[in-house]
Symmetry: C2
Subunit: 190 residues, 2 copies
Amino acid sequence: MTIQPVQIEKAYRLLQIGPTTMISAQHKGDADVMAAAWVGIGGPNKVVAYLGTQSYTRQLIEKSGYFVVHVPTVQQMETVLYVGEHSKSTMPDKIDSLPLFYQEDYDIPMVEGSAAWIVCKVLPNPEQEKEHDSFMAEMVAAWSDDRVFRNGHWEFDSAPAELRTVHYVAGGQFFAIGDGFKFDHGPGQD
Amino acid sequence: MTIQPVQIEKAYRLLQIGPTTMISAQHKGDADVMAAAWVGIGGPNKVVAYLGTQSYTRQLIEKSGYFVVHVPTVQQMETVLYVGEHSKSTMPDKIDSLPLFYQEDYDIPMVEGSAAWIVCKVLPNPEQEKEHDSFMAEMVAAWSDDRVFRNGHWEFDSAPAELRTVHYVAGGQFFAIGDGFKFDHGPGQD
C-alpha cells in the first residue's frame, strides 16, 4: 500500500459516505486524538464538526486553528473506542501507544491504519462554536490508503475487508460499509 | 411493518451512521423533495444540512421553517437519484409520482419506503445560511420502519436487505450499510 494525495476537489467523497471519524490536533508539541461521530460535509471542500467543550482536542484546535479528520477502518474499531473513552485531561499518556506519523508541512499527528486523512483549517465562526459547539473548516490537504480509495473513488469491493469504513451507532455498536451499487447516471456528472 | 415513533433523544442514531438523505418541505401546499448527501448531526437533537441556493426545497424551508430528513433505503436508490437529478423549478410535477404520506400534526410530505423520517425545525442562523448554505435545525419528531430501527437501535442483521441505508459517493455510486460489530463497551453508556 501507499499513502497517496487526494485531489482536494474530490476529498469530500472521503466523508460523503458518512463514516465515524477520529480527529487529531496539535499545538506547540501537545497532541491529542479523539473519536467524533458528528463530523460531516459543510459544503464544497468544507467540514462541519461538533466538538464538545469537554474535549481536550477541541482546546488544541482552538489554539492552533487546524485539525486532521481521519476516516478509520474496521481494523481500527478498538482504537476508535479507545480514543473516545479516554480524555487526555485525565490520561496524559493517552496517545503514546498509538501508531502515529506525520505528513510533510503539517505538525499534526495522524494515526496509521486509517483509510484517509484530511487536514482541515478552521473557518472561524465564534457564535456557532460557542453556542452550538459547531466548527466549520476548510479541507486543505488529504491523503488516502490507495488500496481502498484511489483516483477519487472508494474501492471497497477489491480492498481487504478490514479497510472498510466504520459507522457508529451507540453502546459499542458499529456497522462497516457494505455492498456497492453503481448506476449509469447520478445527480453528479462525475 | 409499522411506522413507529422514535424517542427524540435517540433520533440522532438514525443519522449517526452517515446515510445519504432525502429532504422534503412544504409551504402553503407547495411541496418538494430533494436528495441531500451533506446532512449530518449538529449536536444533541440537532441537524446540520447544506442546502444549495439552486434548490427549490430550500426556498420552501426558508418560508416554512421546517423540513423532514428521510433516511432512504436500498429499495429507494432510484428515487434518491431521481429527486436529486430533477428540480421542481423546471419540472412542476416532479413529486407527483412519489408515494407520499403525511404524519399527524405536520404538513410536510414523507416518502414511503424510507427507513426513517425526522421532522426538523430550523434554528435560524442567517449568517451561516447566507455565507455557507448551512442550515441548523432541531429534531422535533421522528419515526422509523420498525423492521429496521426499533427500540433506539438499527436492526440491519434481521431486516430485509432492501431496507439497508444508502451512502452515496458520486456519479451514481452508492454503498449500502454493511456488517454489524458489537463491542461490550463504547464511549457512550447506552
